[in-house]
């Protein structure tokens, strides 16, 4: 597979995952807003902007309309939904002969749909419909990818992009929660705080899965354990990292390259999550732990880039 193609598939997948993530966050926020006072929402909005790496307003004031606009239809914000979907589509357009026609058509359709949306008052009132549509459109794309594309090297880069992005996005989302809301970690939380923790779970599409594992009693410690260390929930950090490792192992075998570096780095990250206990993580600081994950994840990303996408020609010509 061409390096440029692999690079495009990887980034296409990262951008799409980013768009879905933002759509889910806004969807959850939209619901939470209905139950909360505007004051308590404002703090969450700033966290949201930070987690999405979007520029915060200069005066530090933010309202729901501005937030929604910046994160959805603002083309000047590179991490808005519209920018991410357009970037994903542009990446796939450059390699569209590599994916199935069904995949291309679905992503193109999603792009046309998002691109034809204009932000009006009526739209803002019902913007949850839009958030759902983006999530569903992306899920449909993912389903088509899994069922119409050969699960070969190209597919592995799509998986890789998705889960590298997810690991990073989850870490960015979880970290701030534990620095700002750290009272009574192992007790059930109530009222406003309850809403925030449920919001966090829902932002990771994890509320129902959490309830099945721990019942509806929401304790921050359990939330942390679930989102960081659960081995089988697809939106946990550990699951995502395991998938990154699996894809890198598969790619290493498919290309026959001596690519120890990415596999080694991903393996270490897996081990870190597999053998950590939540009490230790909390004791040494959840935020520091999460930052460590992000740093290691960035290292994996760089290693992928150097080994597969942009390697020096001299090394490839050497016998």
């Amino acid at each position: 597979m061409l390096s440029r193609v692999a690079d495009s598939l990887y980034w296409m997948s990262r951008y799409l995952e980013r768009a879905v993530h933002t759509a889910r966050l806004l969807d959850v926020d939209f619901q939470l807003r209905l139950d909360q006072s505007p004051e308590s929402s404002a703090g969450r909005w700033l966290r949201l902007l930070e987690a999405s790496q979007a520029p915060a307003p200069a005066d530090g004031k933010i309202d729901a309309t501005t937030l929604t606009h910046i994160l959805t239809l603002d083309k000047t914000n590179p991490s808005s939904i519209i920018s991410c979907v357009a970037a994903a589509r542009e990446n796939l357009r450059q390699v569209r002969e590599q994916c199935s026609s069904e995949m291309w058509e679905q992503l193109n359709r999603l792009y046309l749909q998002v691109n034809s949306t204009t932000s009006t008052e009526a739209w803002l009132l019902h913007s949850y419909v839009f958030f759902r549509a983006v999530q569903e459109g992306a899920h449909l794309f993912q389903g088509l990818t899994d069922s119409t594309m050969t699960h070969g090297e190209g597919w592995q880069y799509i998986q890789l992009g998705r889960f590298v992005e997810r690991t990073d996005a989850l870490a960015r989302l979880i970290g701030p929660h534990f620095t700002r809301l750290h009272n009574s970690l192992d007790q059930a939380v109530e009222s406003e705080e309850y809403l925030e923790w449920v919001g966090l779970l829902k932002s990771c599409a994890a509320f129902e899965a959490y309830c099945k594992t721990y019942t509806a009693e929401v304790r921050p410690l359990r939330v942390a354990e679930f989102l960081l260390l659960n081995p089988s929930f697809p939106h946990s950090v550990r699951f995502s990292v395991d998938m990154v490792h699996a894809s890198l192992t598969a790619i290493g075998e498919l290309t026959g390259r001596k690519a120890e570096q990415p596999v080694r780095l991903a393996g270490r990250l897996c081990a870190n999550l597999s053998f950590s206990h939540i009490d230790e993580i909390m004791a040494s600081g959840a935020n520091a732990f999460v930052e460590g994950i992000r740093w290691q994840c960035a290292q994996v990303h760089n290693a992928i880039h150097q080994v597969y996408f942009d390697y020096p020609v001299e090394s490839a010509l050497a016998p």
Binding site: R4, V95, R96, E97, E153, R257, V313
Partner: protein, 490 residues
């Protein structure tokens, strides 16, 4: 048209008009040609609403599939759907056979001409084609002198623009021997029409076109000498200028259909005169490049230095015989619009045969007598820049303003070699479904000829339509569209 004749047309042909041009469908008012009879009857029985729905469904499917082209001179990267018309253009088998023979003859002769010009130049010594015409051509490549190309094939793929004259005969308007495009629309149109008129399509007995990609791959593979590098199957790639090229959709489509890699210049590199592509598993050798990048941009070391689309060192690898290019470099001299006037002589010279397909009368402006005639009759003639394509750099006399004619007069006098003139042709017209009814629009036909182990034509081609009323320009960049072309089995 008299009222009585008009009454002979029933909906959706109520406002259909015949004029001096050859009409593909009707031989007289309300009387369809035999091979159009079945389509005509079907259309009479079809509610316009249904046609409109089919057209909308087709447009939407083109949009969703992203079957688009990029318009230049506009904001960069403006994608437009290539308009498609649902009424097929039908060609009887005997007419197609003549086209097929004519184009086979033409590509054979032009290919011999290229080989000759880049080697001994017999045709120049014998004075059949003027030496200065060849050497003054912008697309003549000195670097190709004496270079032997595999099997002597310069033109692997050729798209020829044919028009039908008022007497019903086909004539060649121009050859596209460099990077002819449009074939993906031929295949896309067919796919849509099979959905819209399944029964009609089956009953008509239409020759299939779906094997084009396979035929093209075979043609490309034929360029690679067997076991050239001790391996069994040559690695064939398609080289695209990239996502901003107007025909990018086509490049991805053909690569996908052929199952080969679509590469950009930055994916390739040359080491020791061997071309490699950069893959995730390391470097991989490339044997044949089907290139959609113009000569000028192929190799910054040899041609345009500012090209970022090409591959440095590619030409040397080509000279060394380590990589094959389709089409070869320097084929542009044979589709120069001034050289076009000599093609009948070229055919006679190499093959000793008369041309099967007629050419259009062409005035060479380097000749004083012809130039003066043209300058006096600018309002009646079509003037074309010799090296341009895509409908750019053209003057259509009867539809031009005095200022435009003056501008061309000055341009011609400044650079006579750069222009040719032809009579304004009355292109044939075919019904198109527009605004809820059938309307006559001018059309041309671009069949695609493949030259590998032998010459292959896929029966059909791209019928391009000038969608603006009265317009004679069919190019997609100038408001043209296309329709499916049905070549009948019998």
């Amino acid at each position: 048209m008299p009222e009585s004749a008009r009454a002979l047309f029933r909906p959706p042909f109520r406002n259909y008009q015949l004029d001096g041009a050859y009409d593909e469908m009707f031989e007289g008012p309300g009387i369809p040609r035999p091979h159009y009879q079945a389509l005509f009857q079907t259309l009479l029985g079809l509610p316009p609403e249904e046609m409109r729905k089919s057209q909308q469904a087709a447009d939407l499917s083109f949009l969703h599939q992203g079957i688009t082209f990029t318009v230049y001179g506009n904001e960069e990267g403006t994608e437009r759907v290539f308009p498609n018309d649902l009424l097929p253009r039908i060609i009887p088998n005997h007419e197609w056979r003549k086209i097929e023979n004519g184009l086979t003859q033409r590509i054979t002769a032009l290919n011999l001409f290229l080989e000759d010009v880049y080697h001994r130049g017999r045709i120049l010594t014998d004075g059949v084609v003027p030496r200065e015409l060849v050497y003054s051509c912008r697309h003549f490549r000195r670097e190709m002198r004496g270079l032997t190309v595999p099997r002597g094939i310069y033109i692997s793929v050729c798209g020829t623009d044919l028009v039908r004259l008022p007497d019903g005969s086909f004539a060649v308007l121009e050859d596209n021997l460099r990077v002819p495009s449009g074939v993906s629309y031929m295949l896309a149109n067919r796919k849509v029409l099979k959905k819209v008129f399944p029964t009609l399509f089956r009953d008509y007995g239409v020759c299939p076109v779906d094997h084009y990609a396979q035929a093209l791959l075979g043609t490309l593979r034929a360029l690679s000498p067997p076991n050239s590098s001790g391996r069994h199957e040559p690695t064939v790639v398609l080289l695209t200028p990239g996502v901003f090229n107007s025909a990018y959709f086509e490049h991805t489509f053909l690569a996908q259909q052929m199952g080969i890699e679509l590469v950009e210049g930055r994916d390739l590199l040359v080491h020791d005169n061997v071309v490699y592509m950069r893959t995730t598993a390391g470097l991989r050798r490339v044997d044949v490049i089907c290139r959609r990048v113009d000569d000028d941009f192929l190799d910054p070391l040899c041609f345009r230095r500012d090209s970022s689309l090409g591959v440095p060192g590619l030409f040397n690898a080509y000279r060394a015989g380590n990589v094959m290019l389709a089409n070869a470099i320097g084929t542009g001299i044979a589709d120069d619009k001034a050289l076009y006037a000599y093609v009948p002589a070229i055919i006679r010279y190499y093959l000793g045969e008369d041309p099967i397909l007629a050419s259009v009368q062409t005035y060479l402006l380097t000749d004083r007598a012809q130039r003066e005639h043209v300058l006096e009759h600018l309002d009646q003639l079509v003037v074309k820049a010799v090296g341009e394509s895509g409908g750019y750099g053209m003057l259509i006399g009867p539809q031009s303003t005095a200022e435009q004619r003056e501008e061309f007069r000055q341009r011609i006098q400044a650079e006579p070699r750069n222009y040719i003139a032809q009579p304004t042709l009355s292109l044939s017209r075919a019904p198109c479904f527009l605004d809820g009814e059938a309307q006559a629009r001018h059309v041309d036909l671009r069949p695609y000829t493949l030259y590998g182990e032998n010459v292959t034509l896929v029966p059909g081609g791209l019928t391009r339509v000038a969608l603006r009323r009265g317009s004679l320009v069919v190019n997609s960049s100038q408001g043209g569209g296309s329709k499916d072309t049905w070549v009948l089995r019998a």
